[in-house]
């Protein structure tokens, strides 16, 4: 029997793309759908998805949970669990359009929630940690339920199929966001489980990733020491947890995260100025188990910003471009040209060199330290 994500590691090739408008101008979801569709051959119809940021302005202070249910029981049990820990401000099915190529759809629901304040206080956890724990709990303990999006004012839309069909299925043209990312997947084997599609999200972190990291189990076994449970055995999942751990728990900047997961080589560090050298040495030593090796190109979406990063040898393709206030990143140039033919600047970022773009209003905030 073919095993699904979580039962076995499934290598895959992929297409990724994304863009952010730094002045916060919102763009309709069909633009990102168009972009990813140009890389059709980089997916094989076994998974794809999107993340949009700034799409729920009316509920921007609430956690938006997108949940797959395999059956009604799972939904009932999950809702019972949610009610126990959260105030559910709004709940609904996520509107979809029937698309011929997309089948076996689970129940897809959306909940806008906030933690019950007394429960949160009793837990002695900060709010985000509280939310994370509950999400992980649902995913690991409630059979047939899977929270695939849990941030504020953002949402993930993913399914088994080609990305352009998935965009159509989720009616993305009806959403508007200042930032979008997309993923088309080429797994080598999978029964096609919706939860296994990408982006992978935790709170407002979403990750689309192209690659197959060789450090997977070293990374996994390390982050699992801190309460994360890697249920899917995918790179994207563990990378998301690494970002969560380093930015939220260790309060590191995205630049620092890049310098840890795609750390400079020792020979490079040895040539740095003494202060820099000490810092990089300290990071590499302290977070040695979070170094990610093997090929990857990732787009990390977070509240108010986007980071693109290649592995330090640049073993996977990635192109970036700028036009006015918008930064574009994609596996292939065509995906950018498709939606922005006359870019101001286009380049291929170096391995290990992060590109970080944030909303102007967010500049100077702690996340970009």
């Amino acid at each position: 029997m073919i095993k699904r994500e979580g039962e076995i590691r499934i290598p895959s090739g992929c297409a990724i793309c994304g863009f952010i408008n730094k002045s916060g101008k919102k763009v309709s979801g069909d633009v990102i759908v168009k972009s990813i569709s140009y890389m059709h051959d980089r997916s094989n119809g076994l998974g794809g998805g999107f993340a949009g940021y700034g799409i729920y302005p009316e509920y921007k202070d609430l956690y938006a949970f997108h949940i797959f249910f395999e059956d009604l029981n799972a939904r009932v049990e999950t809702e019972r669990f949610l009610e126990k820990y959260f105030d559910i401000v709004n709940l609904s099915r996520i509107p979809v359009k029937k698309v011929k190529s997309i089948t076996d759809s689970p129940l897809i629901w959306r909940y806008f929630v906030e933690p019950i304040s007394t429960k949160l206080a009793a837990s002695q956890l900060d709010e985000k940690e509280y939310v994370v724990q509950k999400v992980l709990k649902i995913n690991s303990d409630i059979k047939g339920a899977y929270v695939f999006s849990s941030g504020k004012n953002m949402g993930v839309f993913k399914a088994v199929g080609f990305p352009e069909d998935i965009g159509e299925f989720y009616r993305l043209e009806e959403y508007e966001g200042y930032m979008w990312t997309a993923h088309g997947r080429y797994p080598t084997n999978t029964p096609g489980w919706w939860g296994g599609a990408h982006p992978f999200a935790l709170l407002d972190h979403t990750i689309v990733h192209n690659g197959e990291i060789s450090s997977y189990d070293a990374n996994r076994r390390f982050v699992e020491m801190f309460g994360y449970v890697c249920t899917l055995l995918t790179d994207t999942e563990v990378i998301t947890y690494i970002f969560d751990y380093l930015t939220r728990r260790q309060n590191l900047s995205y630049t620092d995260v890049a310098n840890i997961i795609a750390a400079p080589f020792w020979e490079h560090i040895e040539r740095m100025e003494p202060n820099q050298r000490e810092k990089f040495k300290f990071f590499r030593n302290t977070f040695s188990s979070l170094l990610i090796t093997g090929p990857f190109s990732i787009l990390v979406g977070f509240e108010g910003g986007l980071m693109a990063l290649n592995d330090r040898l640049k073993l996977r393709s990635m192109v970036a471009a700028e036009k006015d206030d918008t930064l574009y990143v994609a596996s292939e140039e065509c995906a950018i040209r498709a939606i922005c033919p006359d870019v101001d600047k286009i380049w291929s970022p170096k391995g290990g060199e992060p590109i970080i773009a944030t909303l102007y209003e967010k500049e100077g905030a702690s996340i970009c330290r």
């Binding site: 590691r9 290598p11 895959s12 090739g13 080598t188 690659g211 197959e212 990291i213 060789s214 450090s215 997977y216 189990d217 070293a218 990374n219 076994r221 390390f222 699992e224 020491m225 801190f226 260790q250 309060n251 590191l252 900047s253 750390a263 080589f265 020792w266 020979e267 810092k279 300290f282 590499r284 030593n285 302290t286 040695s288 188990s289 170094l291 990610i292 090796t293 093997g294 090929p295 330090r312 040898l313 073993l315 330290r369």
Partner: protein, 501 residues
């Protein structure tokens, strides 16, 4: 003379056609297994004295010698083997404990050989270490768990003292006394050149070797030989030896005849007296006592040096390691039951303790489950034989490995396992001046450097094959391992899948 029941184990075979009677065998055999008769111009072999150390074989210029196992046998008996019978004869004669040396030679499973390493194929690329950087630098010691920043975003957290190694290999503790000064010099110089560490063992630090302090781990063991402030300060790290894989639960014994002037001064004991390391530390009767010793040593060295606690791999090693990780130790060294020794009771060497592979897997997993893997580094020991063993050890979760036997082999040891006699023909496990000089450190240190350089290349090759270009991404990366011929329980302990899965 009473009847001697014991027939020689080996026979020296001399090809008379090739022998040129240069007598190098006569001169070089400290056991006097070769003699020359002037009158008859004839060389004689004394098989009963031969320990099969190959010194004569190696030096014979015409390759006229070989040593073979005798085909003289007892009546076949699967239960009472010839070896057992002979051991009974020996004990019946001597009334003493059987002694032997080096590691456990018995046919217990060697799990390294049942673990297989992964490699990249289509879905991700392998990396060519000749063309791309390939990193094997390792830090040993406690890691910072929470990084703090000042208002400018600069890191203000100070890291803990760590050892920096150019590759995940250290030389095991071997005391000056159990091995010769020249052997120590070779280890020290090799460690210095390679950017790694050697370990004094419980023999103190010879005055000539203080200059290698930056690459020295000084050991504090139950006999406390050679321990003083200067000694503690001389090394880069301090190791508290609680146990040894070859002889868990018992102490050590260096006979008085080996305590010459130099060793006496280094160990700080009178010449000619036996150096007896007790089985326990008499100030450690429980884990909280260990914590006190760890902190005493840290206090004595201004919290500037990591402290290693070395234990033998025994049945509940994971729980013990957890306790040590919480004792303030920075590094745990675990020595498996195939670890070497200069002398141990045979029965203990061959029957006590557990394989290091299982111990390592259990300890690493337990420390992760308890969330304290970052509190300590894990160094394992006990018959690491080649670079593949190291790759497997790191993938199972070790930060680095100690090598002892392999290092001695590199400098000439032929594993005859007769260290306890003190007549090592290769100048390693001996204090006899004429034998010690057979080990020229200039040659020996270079051989160690060569060996480890080669191993490091091989480690890089294997890492490259896995698409990993830094050793830290291999550490604990058990997905890179598969088992062959292991049962469910073994796979479970290793935390790996069976090959083919």
């Amino acid at each position: 003379m009473p009847i001697n029941y014991i027939y020689p184990e080996y026979e020296i075979i001399r090809d008379k056609n090739k022998c040129i009677k240069c007598k190098v065998c006569v001169r070089q055999c400290s056991n006097e297994a070769h003699t020359y008769d002037e009158e008859l111009d004839c060389l004689y072999e004394h098989n009963e004295r031969c320990v099969n150390c190959h010194r004569c074989v190696a030096l014979c210029p015409t390759r006229a010698l070989k040593i073979v196992k005798t085909d003289h046998t007892f009546r076949e008996n699967y239960n009472f083997t010839g070896e057992l019978i002979n051991e009974i004869y020996r004990q019946a004669e001597s009334g003493g404990v059987l002694l032997s040396s080096m590691g456990n030679p018995k046919p217990f499973p060697v799990y390294w050989d049942k673990l297989l390493i992964n490699a990249s194929q289509v879905t991700n690329p392998s990396i060519d270490p000749l063309r791309e950087p390939m990193e094997t630098k390792v830090f040993l010691g406690k890691k910072v768990s929470k990084v703090e920043f000042d208002e400018n975003g600069e890191v203000i957290t100070k890291g803990y003292p760590n050892l920096e190694l150019s590759m995940p290999i250290l030389f095991s503790a071997m005391s000056y006394g159990s091995i010769s000064k020249n052997a120590h010099e070779a280890l020290a110089r090799a460690a210095q050149e390679l950017g790694i560490y050697y370990n004094t063992g419980e023999g103190g630090l010879h005055k000539d070797f203080y200059k290698y302090g930056k690459n020295t781990i000084v050991q504090v063991a139950s006999g406390r030989f050679g321990v003083h402030k200067g000694y503690l300060e001389a090394g880069a790290a301090i190791e508290i030896k609680m146990g040894q894989g070859a002889k868990p639960g018992i102490g050590g014994h260096l006979p008085g005849e080996k305590i010459g002037e130099d060793i006496s001064a280094t160990r700080m004991i009178p010449q000619g007296t036996d150096a007896i390391s007790p089985a326990p530390h008499h100030d450690i009767y429980s884990i909280e006592d260990l914590r006190q010793l760890v902190y005493s040593l840290k206090e004595a060295t201004n919290y500037e040096k990591p402290v290693i606690v070395k234990i033998a791999a025994v049945h509940n090693v994971a729980a013990i390691a957890s306790g040590i990780a919480r004792s303030g130790a920075d590094i745990i060294a675990i020595d498996g039951f195939r670890g070497g020794t200069g002398a141990a009771p045979t029965r203990i060497r061959d029957n006590v303790g557990i394989p290091i592979e299982l111990a390592l897997a259990a300890v690493d997993q337990r420390l992760r489950e308890e969330g304290i893997r970052n509190e300590v580094s894990i160094v394992i020991a006990g018959s690491i034989r080649n670079s593949a063993d190291i790759v497997k050890a790191v993938a199972l979760g070790a930060d680095a490995v100690y090598i002892g036997t392999a290092a001695l082999l590199a400098i000439g040891c032929h594993l005859c396992r007769d260290c306890q006699s003190g007549k090592c023909n290769w100048g390693i496990a001996t204090q006899r001046e004429d034998l010690v000089k057979r080990l020229n450190p200039d040659i020996a240190y270079k051989r160690l450097v060569n060996l480890l350089t080669a191993w490091n290349h091989e480690i890089m090759e294997m890492m490259g094959g896995m698409g990993i270009n830094s050793i830290e991404a291999l550490r604990g990366n058990r997905l890179m391992l598969r088992g062959v011929g292991l049962n469910e329980k073994e796979l479970e302990i290793f935390g790996i899948k069976h090959a083919g899965e």
